[in-house]
Symmetry: C3
């Protein structure tokens, strides 16, 4: 169902899920719990929603009269906007709570806050929280649908889903690809969700970064480790460059921003040593000149803005599926 | 018209307002100004809106094309969200102004701010303000409908209306009941609006708290005073536990949080000494272990989340009625 | 097409633009780039939208399914609310980003932020930015429509358009009028956009203020300078009083608020020396007793709230036209 872009190296996906496949989960908590078939079903559903965003009237009535609450206990403009727009494109009403200045959260447990907002007649709660596992705890205790929009250093499933959607769109499939994820692996929920999902769909994953930012135990997730970006350039089909959090530099995990950029930044010299159609990804926002030079970020291998566009389709699919799974 | 839950102690309401009753107020400012008949009319109207929130498509077109502005000069996530959702469930558009970082309020009077926002074509202004009487001042000077969402230590009418709606729903009526309101009576607009409304509907009201937080003059509102929660447990049909504002403890009005909780907190021991179907209420957010222990807050006597749900129906009713009263 | 209020001094506009006129701009960046014909076309289009705001159901489906993003890199409650309501009155969805606490902007260029939000499927970006020229830069680099909602000390085109709309509505036309703009001309984007627009439509413009706040070079824009408000009162058809930014007083540009008010504030004595139907304008929010006394602000010559109301019609027109110009 998903549109596949023409590409110089088409690959074949696993067979599309049978039409008979029925999504049964009321929540989307992480890639960890999803089967390969479920992941592909989300991508296929997103494929059918992608077309909506190209219409002159970008709306479908699928969730009309439903309410989606965006509970961002941790701030995130970009992900919040994407979920908000996805919900309104499905004709749902949205309700927002941001952490700052919220009287709801004063002295109140996360569960009480969520239950109170749900009691207003909310169908789906999209949760971002600094504590790993917070959405899972809510999902166990509440009948409403819970979507994890990023929990601590644990998972960020919709980001990984939109990344996989974009890879499949540009390269025709995921199985058999080699994907490098570069940067602060230790603290990245984007990395964790990507590793889990890519492995389930049959990709090889190499995580790349300095030893202080790449824990050895990560290989238990089925990925390989490299401490040299230069060593892996020749092998990769996709390079996903993680955003560097500058506040970590002061913590002595990095020598300096400049040194990090020299060892692990992607520039045109390094790009020349990759295969011609290598896909350059970044979850945004970009630190230009740090993770990526501008010529790479804006060049033909980059799919960074396409990732953002695809995020809408993925979030529409996820909002739609969890309400279907909660009847 | 309101649904009455089956209950072990059904009571009879005053006769329902005749169908011929016509709401004529353009504003909802407080329980002080409402007649018993008007209060019952709001509750009955909420009863007919309650059903909307149980539909798959939770929307009615009653206020389509109308604009409801939420002017929160004082922050309130919970009440704001409830009004926002009530407005959108009636198909109105909403417009929000929060106090923080608002350029509207710089050097501008409250009346100028309200008039300017109204001049954009707003039909209803929902006002929360730290100054007692601010909504009343606006209502006198402006042709638009004004709803008081809490003014200083004065009134919070929609909270009292949803409390009374919930009591009637659970216990079948209000007349003849004994209701205890426990906590910081002196500073509570929730207490004031509840006392006014409950008395008008024929309930007996006992306010309970330490002498520093219960002004003797409050008996002029028709309620009784007790400084011992234990003394009144055997008499009450409803216990409404007010939220404690921790910042007041430092002001020497309370000895300590622990001491307050021991004297005025509701726990399972105290609950056993009440009648079996006593109703436990709280306007939220709860400080678990202070006003209420968790077993009581989450137990069968508690209607705390039902209060939140009913808040939607009450706010839909109020938004609907004031626009009807402003034709 | 615009409704003309009856007035004691009707004047004649230039002939209305032929029906055949087709708006071709995808952006609205400033009055500087617009021809007189284009300005009049915006005013005429606003005239046809003004009627929508008087309907019981204040909505038209013109932009249904379109998305308008409000990117306020600099805060503005009032202008943001006006654009938000204009968009929803046209049935568009809106998406908001405010500068404060926005994770989008961390280390990200303005262009990257705008492009990322646009990639979500946004049709129109309304930009307020502290840097002069920021909307112009975005308009050159992005295919989406850009509307300038105020850029640095450069332009604020929708404010000038609503001012001109209001003048035409109240006085029947603009050509041949004498308009005084009073206050901090040097730092005012409202003044700049008004001067540009009024001159193009054939009005005489006198800017009035103390020498420290009125740069001599401003005469290059075709206006005259006066340092005495009293000197010009007898000549003017319109007095537009700019808002004083108190933070500038400490910078020694003004002697004191009181002294400023005595020399350049409008009060009833000064109003008596103007022609009887002189129009008093202010972009808001008013500092009562500084730029204007209350009797003048609330008197029959004032059209301050009408300006706010007309702002909706102007912003509906601009949102509509730029999407028409971007097909």
């Amino acid at each position: 169902m998903a549109k596949k872009a023409s590409s110089s190296s088409p690959r074949t996906d696993p067979p599309a899920p049978a039409d008979a496949f029925v999504w049964t989960r009321k929540d989307l908590l992480g890639l960890d719990e999803l089967s390969a078939q479920e992941i592909l079903h989300v991508l296929d559903t997103a494929g059918s929603f992608e077309e909506v965003s190209t219409r002159s009237i970008k709306k479908v009535p699928a969730l009309r009269g439903k309410v989606v609450a965006l509970l961002f206990f941790e701030d995130s403009t970009r992900t919040r906007m994407s979920f908000e727009l996805a919900a309104s494109r499905l004709s749902a009403d949205t309700l927002q709570m941001s952490a700052k200045g919220s009287s709801v959260t004063k002295g109140e447990t996360t569960l009480d806050t969520a239950r109170n907002i749900a009691a207003m007649g909310v169908d789906v709660l999209v949760i971002r929280h600094s504590q790993s596992g917070a959405p899972h705890m809510l999902a166990r205790q509440m009948p409403e649908s819970i979507i994890n929009a990023g929990d601590g250093q644990h998972e960020h499933p919709t980001q990984a889903l939109l990344d996989m959607y974009t890879i499949r769109q540009r390269l025709g499939g995921i199985e058999g690809l080699t994907v490098a994820i570069v940067g602060d692996i230790a603290h990245s929920r984007v990395a964790r969700s990507n590793i889990l999902g890519l492995r389930k769909l049959g990709a090889r994953v190499i995580v790349v970064g300095p030893p202080t930012l790449v824990p050895g135990a990560i290989t238990a997730m089925g990925c390989e480790i490299s401490h040299s970006l230069d060593d892996v350039l020749g092998e990769v089909d996709v390079i996903n460059m993680l955003r560097i959090q500058f506040e970590r530099f002061s913590s002595n995990l990095f020598p300096s921003v400049r040194e990090y950029s020299q060892s692990y930044g992607l520039n045109s010299q390094r790009l020349k040593r990759c295969r011609k159609d290598v896909l350059v990804m970044h979850p945004g926002p970009i630190n230009r000149g740090v993770e990526l030079t501008s010529d790479v970020a804006d060049g033909p291998n980059s799919c960074i803005l396409q990732q953002v566009t695809n995020g809408l389709a993925i979030r529409m699919a996820v909002l739609y599926l969890v309400t279907q799974g909660n009847r």
